[in-house]
Symmetry: C2
Amino acid sequence: MVSTDERIAPKKKSSVFDLGTYLVQRKALVEEALDRSLSVVAPEKIYEAMRYSLLAGGKRLRPILCLATCELMGGTVDMAMPTACALEMIHTMSLIHDDLPAMDNDDYRRGKLTNHKVYGDDIAILAGDGLLAYAFEYTAVHTQNVPAQQVLQVIARLGHAVGAAGLVGGQVIDLESEGKSEISLETLHFIHTHKTGALLEACVASGAILAGADAVDLQRLSKYSKNIGLAFQIVDDILDITATQEELGKTAGKDLQAQKATFPSLLGLEQSRQEADRLIAEAIDALAPYGKQGETLRAIAQFITARKH
Amino acid sequence: MVSTDERIAPKKKSSVFDLGTYLVQRKALVEEALDRSLSVVAPEKIYEAMRYSLLAGGKRLRPILCLATCELMGGTVDMAMPTACALEMIHTMSLIHDDLPAMDNDDYRRGKLTNHKVYGDDIAILAGDGLLAYAFEYTAVHTQNVPAQQVLQVIARLGHAVGAAGLVGGQVIDLESEGKSEISLETLHFIHTHKTGALLEACVASGAILAGADAVDLQRLSKYSKNIGLAFQIVDDILDITATQEELGKTAGKDLQAQKATFPSLLGLEQSRQEADRLIAEAIDALAPYGKQGETLRAIAQFITARKH
């Protein structure tokens, strides 16, 4: 079998970096790895439900960030792919549970019916649990050519990012804030840095740890990932107002309808755009020490503010 | 600080093994470790919800099994305690999610209101997610004096036991089987070996792996844990019919009401008791090579059929 690293080698020969092509290629690689990661065995229904959401498309930005950071730090795509898949499993779990009637009660996600609309609330809860558990198992079993101590560090980061100190904690405050008009910018910041930021930071940190990055690099990359995480969420809030349902693949205008505090509702559209731009500029600054090597992460940061869905 | 191993040393001096005292002491040790494992920080509500169920009592049989197996294989209580706590976090998560209205819809658990009755369905779902993620983080961060490779093996086992190949898969078939009168003994066996058995097996296997057990020992202990796992569930089914709500701390007669197939409903009470006894006898046989060293696991196996709640 040709290793993943050999198959993607030609990209490095081109002198002008083309993010569009890069993202398409990487997304295909990730989709292939995700497809291989989870077979349907008995009991079929639960594996089908897990695969339904895991393979429902999306930008695959989290795994792509993990792979890119691992390469920037001198590692390979093969070293990081199991963790990259785990990050997407965790992200998918959070979407399945967030969409439940007991939570955000969403019928559409990525242009398809949400998991519970197809399989029922009970199976959707279990599919999320199954994906979360499998993320850790998959990382522990399939990561190769990385010292075990580093894999343990990655597992600790993944757990921290998705738990009460991260994604789950952000979702709790988000749920509490719904329908309240007096949400502060500080609370909104907490929600976003936890609900979206923590996992994006874990993508970058885990890629770096797998490659054996030192504390100085981890610090720089943490700055980068914190900034793009917050910018990503601000842009999400903006798109909820300005984009159509077709572009988003999910119900548009959901935040306004739910009277959710968002950056645009607190700062206005224009100032929100400026804040996202400022965060991205700072993220790019943090990559300065890597020169041309940092072009992939730089381009991904720029892509976040430019995206339309 | 006095290490856990020094504090429990006196037990070993007594010549007659007293399981009752042992279980009380070990339960206290585990409760203390669980209490320390999870502090309430912001956002308080989610940590309180996680602690509410994690510290709601119970027999703590899973962590106790993990600790006892680690000691049998020459390891220490301190080596296994983080994993023991993780096993209880995973078990608690499965109870919180199982009790949800979308699943078994239970109002009481361990004599207290279930998590969602106190905190709401949304927080209960998130508390389960938070506990599951934290179990892996906690094992990865806090396990000491064990080679990293063995900790990774333990994490892989935990993930496998709780995911679609274990607990989650068992729950799916259990939900599917509800209200069906024609459930086969084979299906019931699948439900029990997955819903209860897989995690109990992981308790024993992880304790052994942490202590560096070899393949022969793992094989013997797998036989032991498979048998006590199935016996445990058969006894649970029997108690659901014969015990009172006060003894169980949860709604009694639930299975009958839900028209659930159980061992007693398929085999009758008497033959179910015989089957449990047979399984326990076989489990005890598997411990023969350990002689007097195996007395703790032997006594725990006997306790499973003798228990009243």
